[in-house]
């Protein structure tokens, strides 16, 4: 699995992609979905909710586990991926694409500096990433 170069990654296995229109798209990584197994339910914040970098954004549930999703950037929630909410299996199938979770209007873009590049994330996975929090 190769991790998209354009994304930035958190140690909690979320990714963020900054689009040209100024929105930030957030999802969980391929590694995270693999660890979670069959994802059955997503609990995500309503649009308009403000979120803090690395604070809880929502929850992802598999059949027998619940994991918190932490926001890789701070900002305001603009949109929730309705397709992923209705069909959580898309997060398993396309975690870096159709399975995105929310779009944010980022607060402080400087927060990106706290995230990893694809190379750094892959190195992180190789070294330490198997220990989920």
């Amino acid at each position: 699995m190769s991790y998209p170069q354009a994304f930035r990654y958190s140690k909690e296995h979320e990714w963020v992609r900054l689009d040209e229109d100024g929105t930030a798209v957030v999802g969980v990584t391929h590694f995270a979905q693999e660890q979670l197994g069959d994802i059955v339910y997503l609990a995500l914040p309503e649009p308009g909710t403000s979120v803090v970098q690395f604070a809880k954004l929502g929850e992802v549930e598999s059949v027998k586990a619940v994991s918190d999703i932490f926001s890789p950037l701070g900002g305001t929630v603009l949109e929730v991926n309705k397709e992923a909410v209705d069909h959580p299996e898309v997060v398993n199938q396309e975690p870096h694409g159709r399975g995105w979770l929310v779009k944010l209007k980022p607060g402080d873009l400087g927060g990106v500096r706290n995230l990893m590049t694809a190379q750094e994330y892959e190195a992180f996975l190789a070294a330490d990433g198997t220990k989920r929090h």
Binding site: D38, V40, Y41, S62, V63, K64, H87, P88
Partner: protein, 498 residues
């Protein structure tokens, strides 16, 4: 278990047994009722009355066959070895059911005047005394309806005790990382936050971590003994002392009491509150998820907080009499009435028939059986804590995992041999955990069969792992799609004909 022949021939209407509403035909009834023997009375206005009652219409033989056929799709203690760790699936004596169905016990009303239920009250009083004796504590209440409700009562008693002393800062309950999920859930329902205490590599509680967590904010510790690792914590007295020194109370989850009957009392070790699971240790049938009973026992200084009601003895003229009482500062009523009496009655029969010597023998045999499994399986399954166990032994399937077989696959394969699997993936602190509790009611022959099967399965895991991964092969249904069940919940009958 075999599939009905219709399965292959396509004659079955569907693979599962047809649901009641789909069997329903207008006009059928499954029970008869007497004619009205009084003059009919005026019914209330129409707008208060129900127009339609969407219940099934099936005949009596259909009801009997349906539920009997359903029952045949279960594994149970009566039909299978059931070494499900931490659940104590021991044999449930049949005559206890007859006693619980006895006229004068099964058919009495919970709110009858107390002078008309002296027999039941006396029985409850005796049972209170017996379980106090077994727990080594002063007083008890039988009113809590299951283990988790006993836990909640224990947590609420901690709260009441501290508040009564004007001690309002105690917001934290300490819980070992190997605890059952009910412990933190009960603590949260009682309004507390939870701090988890790790275990050492030997499987005992980490005393250093406990000491540094023991602060004036701690209301108490909830601990299971033996632990969910099946181990008797060698520092248990020290643990109680540390908690007491910081002003906290020690709560004992009695889930694993089957190891300790008559061998040691939790009270003597320093516990303040204990709940007992009558549906585990005291042989009342588990019923596929209840009914149970989780009475609580407490040291004298907590008796005033017990859940209501308790039964007390008093003298009226020359006679010994019994009545319900509400302890002075009771945490309240646990359920609508006085506890699961039908369950209490069975536990009473168990304690009376086993007696002191029998209870002790039961625990000794339970521990012996578990250690026998430990010593005969340790060369094929990894033993994460290399020491003697109590009534259950926790293995890890990590040797097998290397070859791609998970604890789940081993469990599912056991079903093909007519054995209910051990508890899997619990405690959470053990990788690929397989927690095996044989209980004392299984013979050596059964244990030897289980050992042979477990060894055979370990061999299969190496040689033909696909057999395990596709198991079970001989059950009414194969592995079920749990993800589908959770993604598109289908939780009740609906008219699928449209």
């Amino acid at each position: 278990m075999r599939q009905p022949p219709g399965e292959e021939s396509g004659l079955c209407r569907e693979s599962g047994l047809t649901l009641l509403m789909d069997q329903s035909r207008p006009g059928r009834v499954g029970a008869s009722l007497p004619e009205l023997d009084v003059p009919p009375q005026e019914l209330p206005p129409d707008d208060l009355l129900r127009r339609d009652l969407p219940l099934p219409e099936v005949s009596e033989p259909e009801v009997v066959r349906y539920f009997t056929r359903l029952s045949q799709m279960n594994f149970s203690v009566d039909t299978n070895f059931y070494p499900l760790g931490s659940c104590t699936m021991k044999y449930n004596p049949k005559w206890h059911d007859d006693v619980a169905a006895m006229p004068g016990m099964a058919d009495i009303h919970p709110l009858q005047p107390e002078e008309t239920v002296q027999g039941s009250l006396e029985l409850m009083y005796r049972l209170q005394r017996y379980i106090c004796e077994i727990a080594g504590l002063a007083e008890s209440s039988l009113s809590t309806l299951a283990g988790a409700q006993g836990e909640l009562a224990g947590v609420l008693m901690m709260r009441a005790y501290h508040l009564d002393r004007g001690d309002r800062q105690r917001k934290v309950i300490l819980i070992p990382d190997s605890a059952h999920g009910t412990n933190p859930a009960s603590a949260a329902m009682g309004g507390f936050s939870v701090v988890s205490i790790p275990s050492t590599a030997q499987g005992d509680m980490d005393l250093e971590a406990l000491s540094s967590a023991a602060s004036p904010e701690v209301a108490g510790l909830m601990i299971t003994l033996p632990s969910t690792l099946g181990l008797f914590d060698r520092h248990i007295r020290e643990i109680c002392q540390i908690v007491h020194r910081c002003g906290g109370l020690v709560y004992g989850d009695g889930a694993n009491m089957n190891a300790l009957l008559g061998k040691v009392t939790l009270g003597a070790l320093g516990f303040d509150i204990v709940h007992l699971n009558l549906h585990k240790t005291f042989s009342t049938p588990h019923g596929g998820g209840g009914p149970g009973a989780g009475p609580v026992c407490v040291a004298q200084h907590l008796a005033q907080f017990l859940p209501a009601p308790v039964v007390e003895e008093f003298r009226s003229t020359d006679e010994r009499c019994y009545r319900f009482a509400t302890p002075e500062q009771s945490i309240g009523l646990a359920g609508a009435f006085h506890g699961n009496f039908g369950v209490l009655l069975r536990a009473y029969c168990y304690i009376r028939s086993m007696g002191k010597a029998g209870l002790r023998q039961a625990s000794e045999d339970a521990v012996l059986n578990a250690n026998y499994l430990l010593s005969r399986l340790r060369d094929v399954y990894h033993l994460p804590y290399d020491r003697r166990c109590m009534h259950e032994v926790v293995f890890s399937a990590r040797n097998q995992k290397a070859g791609g077989v998970r604890a789940l696959d081993i469990a599912k394969r056991l079903l093909d041999f007519g054995i209910h699997p051990p508890t899997m993936y619990f405690p959470l602190t053990v990788e690929e955990a397989l927690m095996i509790e044989p209980t004392e009611t299984e013979s050596k022959e059964t244990l030897d069969y289980f050992i042979d099967v477990m060894r055979q399965v370990a061999k299969e895991a190496q040689e033909k792992p696909e057999v395990l991964k596709l198991a079970p092969h001989h059950t009414p249904v194969s592995r079920l799609d749990e993800a589908k069940a959770a993604r598109q919940p289908d939780l009740r009958w609906r008219n699928r004909k449209g």
